[in-house]
Symmetry: C2
């Protein structure tokens, strides 16, 4: 058990076995290098014998490029984010990058993992964290790592953001609710620190204010089904129940619907209008048919990838890019009723 297993064969090993120089091996694997067919075959034969695969690690040292992009994410329980993660992964792989997946407990910040990512010399970072502090952003700038912040509008010279128009979307929902006869409004929020949730609330308030309405029932939850369920239970426990409920995401809206129907025997949409945000797959399921805002995950990912391409090409800061993608309302059954 003494011999320390050397797991991978090196180009030197192959060269020795083939009786050629190490450079010859290197050239064999470099597309478009000048090498004779005879030499190529000799090398490939030896390589096959040793199961040789060229290592990318030395190249990282030489080029200062790892082709590694880190994706930092804090909770894949939300199907919107698992879909985003999948799209990023596919897009980055197509662009020749590899994905370093980093999980950070939701509610925590990037800070703790930045040094580790820097140690791995990642080319860029995608943050799909609902919380990205200004301090984190500044530290990232110190390391000169290009960052795209997904759905959190922090930015500086090195940190760009791709968000969706939370305020405008939420604001427009008020018109729909009024047209459908909504009169008493309620909002179930995500975690207090989430900018996305805060913006959706702000937009909703703006829309209400435009109609002189300042009465809004509020409950704080956590973006999860259970949280939405519990929040709806408490919001509808007393008198003066809302008849038009907006939830900061679909998962909570679905939880709320189940609570309203099963605990309080309320009908959706007849008794209560409900809308969410994201358009996750289950929003379209037959038991819910939830009205919601389509956050165009594919488009947002594409925008983020475009920023990363620019960053990779420029070898420098990409400037204070902040992209906002519109959110599209898709009305399903949870708001389909005739005005009273």
């Amino acid at each position: 058990m003494t011999a320390r297993a050397k797991k991978y064969a090196s180009s030197t090993d192959v060269a020795r076995l083939a009786g050629v120089s190490q450079s010859a091996v290197s050239r064999t694997y470099k597309p478009g290098a000048k090498i004779s067919e005879e030499m190529r075959q000799k090398v490939l034969a030896a390589a096959a014998q040793l199961d040789y695969r060229p290592s990318l690690i030395p190249r990282i040292m030489l080029t200062h490029k790892s082709n590694l992009v880190a994706i930092v994410i804090g909770g894949m329980y939300n199907p919107f984010y698992s879909a985003v993660l999948e799209r990023f992964t596919v897009g980055l792989q197509e662009a020749g990058n590899q994905v370093l997946l980093v999980h950070v407990d939701s509610g925590h910040s990037l800070d703790a993992v930045i040094p580790k990512l820097a140690s791995y010399r990642v080319d860029a970072i995608v943050s799909a964290l609902s919380i990205l502090s200004k301090q984190s952003a500044d530290e990232l700038a110190r390391f000169k790592i290009p960052v795209v912040s997904f759905n959190t509008p922090v930015r500086n010279e090195w940190v760009s953001s791709v968000c969706c128009d939370n305020v405008g979307a939420a604001r427009s929902l008020v018109e729909l609710y009024l047209a459908r006869g909504g009169r008493r409004f309620g909002f179930i929020s995500g975690p207090p620190a989430s900018p996305a949730s805060a913006e959706r609330l702000a937009g909703f308030r703006l829309g209400l204010a435009a109609h002189g309405i300042d009465n809004l029932a509020m409950a704080v939850a956590d973006f999860r089904y259970e949280g939405g369920h519990a929040a709806a239970l408490s919001m509808f426990a007393g008198p003066d129940r809302p008849d038009a409920l907006f939830c900061a995401n679909d998962l909570m809206a679905i939880g709320a619907i189940d609570a309203l129907r099963r605990t309080y025997g309320l009908r959706v949409p007849e008794d209560v209008l409900v809308a969410g945000f994201d358009d996750i797959p289950s929003a379209a399921w037959g038991a819910y048919e939830l009205t919601t805002f389509v956050q165009d995950g594919q488009r947002m990912v594409d925008e983020a990838l475009a920023i990363l391409r620019v960053a990779a090409a420029s070898h420098g800061p990409v400037g204070e890019v902040a992209i906002e993608v519109p959110a599209r309302l898709i009305e399903r059954q949870t708001t389909r009723r005739q005005p009273i």
Copy 2:
């Protein structure tokens, strides 16, 4: 634009600025190295000035260990797999590893990405692909990369598997169905190539055969909600509708329930018993309350991590490990009815 930006400061840069040797810098960052406090401070000051972070890349060359573990996955649309991915990520990070996330289109095999993973010198691979061919497994063995196959029972000297007891679980469901008055049975499968789906079908058939039943309505789907929905539509289109439906996973079961209820006006469980597999979060949602088998994702991940630890410690093949975790039935409303 000529100067090729050298992005990260190196230990040599720090040493020069601090007026010390490069080894001194190295020692400063090595826990438990003998170095004077004075030297340490000098180095740290220079490092801070240059925003220096030691690189892990050269260490990989020296030690032949990257601390990188690849997770190959083919479709995070299934919440069971996104939860598994999250657990793996957390577990590996806690063990000091980093996760290289690789997406392979579901239905495809590992083969195409193996060389790339070998190039990154990953320490191990976790495959959460529903399809892992024997050929892939053999190629992996050639590269001497330890692999854990999740839910696909392929194995060899280098490839271990962690599966759940699909056959036993599916078989036991027959008893429940008979006790609940089920008489005409139906099964909606995943993709034909999926071993998990095949085992669940085999177990179901075994259970039926034990009671002399060989009549089973079948529909092939794809593990998705839409697939289950469509399969149920066709299975229940004719006469002789089943009254006890088993779906190879929860997502399809939920799709089937929506189809039965909304298109055919059937009641679950009164008219049709339904059960799924996985126990994804939405199985517990109020609108479905789906009876299903808990695939203990946490435990399966823990077993897989344990195998990886052994592999890391042994520097060699881990042997033909095949772990089978039991699946636990959790009965909810979709099978709760008195026998007819």
